[in-house]
């Protein structure tokens, strides 16, 4: 067997390991091993690639060492609450890497063209040119889109949706420009203007990434994050076509497809279509829509809340992004334990799109060591919520807004929610009186059985814990 066969066979083994890895990641008891299996696949793919002829080892080893060190430190340091930002950031890097691979391949072909003018056209077939455009396009959108999402999630850019007049037209224009330039480049990649055209594609794609994520509000972030994840896979896949490499195509495509499924699951959880999420500018324009609620807000102190909790026999805790912001997950878990010791049944109801990425609340509660049995999904909680003494909403907003069920003018009408308003009493922990992240007014806050507890969620929960401990 020659070296190339060994490399290719190893790529097949790596692909198999990825497939098993993803499969195992989907089940609770094998997930950790699955991640390891796919990591072994990656290691194998990288090692056999290092055996290829003619690599410039100083660059390769240096690059691997640098990237590895940065990734290592970032992964060790990150707080669980900072996870959505980090995933977005990694995603962006992956996209940019695929873009660069496409670009590097173009320059390589271009240079060899200049040296040997006789192979001018052959070196870069139309197909290769097309996939180079795709790698740059998808990689570029993934990169700037993820970086912008990272900025939003980490609060550096403000989480709200940003819209301006003619935004949709502008985005459509960008997309058209990319398509036109892409076709121009692919049809005559050896043209002297081709380089300028390709750079145009690059710049427009980077712009489109930013402007596509800009109008998307914080509440829709789970969709965006999983969509960008899917895109980074497709970018790797396109890069695989550029350099004719099967393992890139397979692995990239697997990620692209599974990311797309996850995106669709997130959209379903909000009863919206993907197109709707991407173009609606949810959050910025919705203040005018939706009926204003008329009731008044009824605040109570954590002390008074304690007396009600102390008497409660069943409690449901509904966490949202606010819990992540306040880093309140450990305090919430402690409150749960104290309530249980007080002969109260405690459950955590988790909405599929609570937080800023798919499964965000599960990660935080797992970090705080909340027992698995206490976690409940929306569909299990809703049928019995009328029997619940107290529902505690911690920093969640849209996912408990009754308007989704009864107000047809509301932009979130039709979205499945956790019906916290049907519990005997509902506490809403909230930082201040303003509208939530999405900018929507929440009917739950003014419902007759709702009591508002204002303040930092962590401080509020901690003071309830203190009350429990004193008695």
């Amino acid at each position: 067997m020659d070296a190339l066969t060994i490399v290719n066979l190893s790529y097949i083994v790596a692909a198999i390991l990825f497939i098993f890895g993803i499969k195992m990641l989907g089940k609770a008891d094998t997930a950790k091993r699955g991640n390891l299996v796919s990591a072994v696949g990656m290691l194998l793919a990288v090692i056999v690639t290092l055996l290829s002829k003619g690599l410039s080892y100083p660059l390769v080893i240096g690059g691997l060492a640098m990237g590895g060190a940065v990734g290592f430190v970032a992964a060790k340091r990150v707080q669980m609450t900072g996870m959505p930002e980090l995933v977005a950031l990694f995603n962006g890097f992956g996209g940019l890497a695929s873009l660069l691979v496409g670009l590097a391949e173009y320059y390589r072909a271009k240079m060899s063209n200049n040296l040997l003018e006789s192979v001018l056209i052959d070196e870069l077939s139309s197909f290769t040119a097309t996939v180079i455009v795709l790698a740059i396009l998808i990689g570029g959108i993934t990169f700037t889109g993820s970086i912008y999402a990272w900025g939003k999630l980490s609060g550096k850019l403000g989480g709200r949706a940003l819209t301006f007049t003619g935004q949709k037209a502008f985005n459509a224009l960008l997309a058209l420009g990319i398509i036109a330039a892409g076709i121009l480049f692919s049809s005559s990649p050896a043209n002297e203007l081709a380089h300028a055209v390709l750079i145009t594609v690059l710049i427009l794609s980077l712009l489109l990434g930013i402007f596509a994520v800009m109008p998307i509000g914080g509440g829709d972030m789970p969709v965006v994050i999983s969509l960008l994840n899917s895109c980074s896979g497709l970018a790797a896949c396109a890069a695989g076509f550029v350099i004719n490499n099967n393992v890139l195509v397979v692995a990239g495509c697997l990620v692209g497809a599974s990311g797309l499924i996850l995106t669709v699951i997130m959209c379903k959880a909000m009863n919206r279509t993907l197109i709707n999420v991407l173009v609606s500018g949810f959050g910025a324009t919705t203040q005018a829509n939706g009926a204003k609620s008329t009731g008044e807000l009824k605040p109570i102190s954590p002390e008074d809340a304690y007396y009600i909790l102390e008497a409660a026999k069943s409690v449901i805790i509904i966490p949202g992004y606010g819990m992540a912001v306040a880093q309140a997950q450990h305090a919430v878990k402690e409150l749960g334990t104290l309530l249980e010791e007080n002969d109260c049944e405690v459950r955590f109801a988790i909405h599929p799109v609570a937080g800023r990425m798919p499964g965000h609340m599960n990660v935080l509660l797992a970090e705080a060591d909340v027992p698995y049995e206490q976690l409940a999904e929306m569909d299990d909680v809703n049928p019995m919520i009328e029997m619940v003494d107290v529902a505690i909403v911690i920093g969640a907003n849209d996912v408990v807004n009754p308007a989704a069920g009864n107000d047809e003018t509301s932009p979130i009408y039709g979205m499945p929610i956790i019906e916290a308003h049907k519990a005997k009493t509902t506490f809403c922990l909230k930082r201040g009186k303003g509208a939530g992240f999405s900018g929507l007014e929440n009917q739950l806050f003014t419902a007759p059985k709702t009591r508002m507890i204002y303040g930092d969620a962590k401080a509020t929960v901690t003071s309830m814990i203190a009350q429990f401990k004193e008695s």
Partner: protein, 93 residues
Amino acid sequence: MELILLLFVFVLAAFLGFELIAKVPSQLHTPLMSGSNAISGITVVGAILAANTSSSGLSAWLGFAAIVLATINVVGGYMVTDRMLAMFKKKVK
């Protein structure tokens, strides 16, 4: 012909990807996402090949940058996923 084969592989992999995670419990959504995010760092293989001695200076440096970025994606992605799953594990005991 080789390209047709690659396209063939692409289509099959797409269907496989859809099938693989059709039913995943929501608590595993985040690890699944960050785990597959790490896999998308496979582009590091392409990046290594791009940093070829036959490449011009520019291509080689682009390849180098791609190696760094993709490796951050790979190493960081697998490690955070492992950290998260370790937390899930504790609860089961």
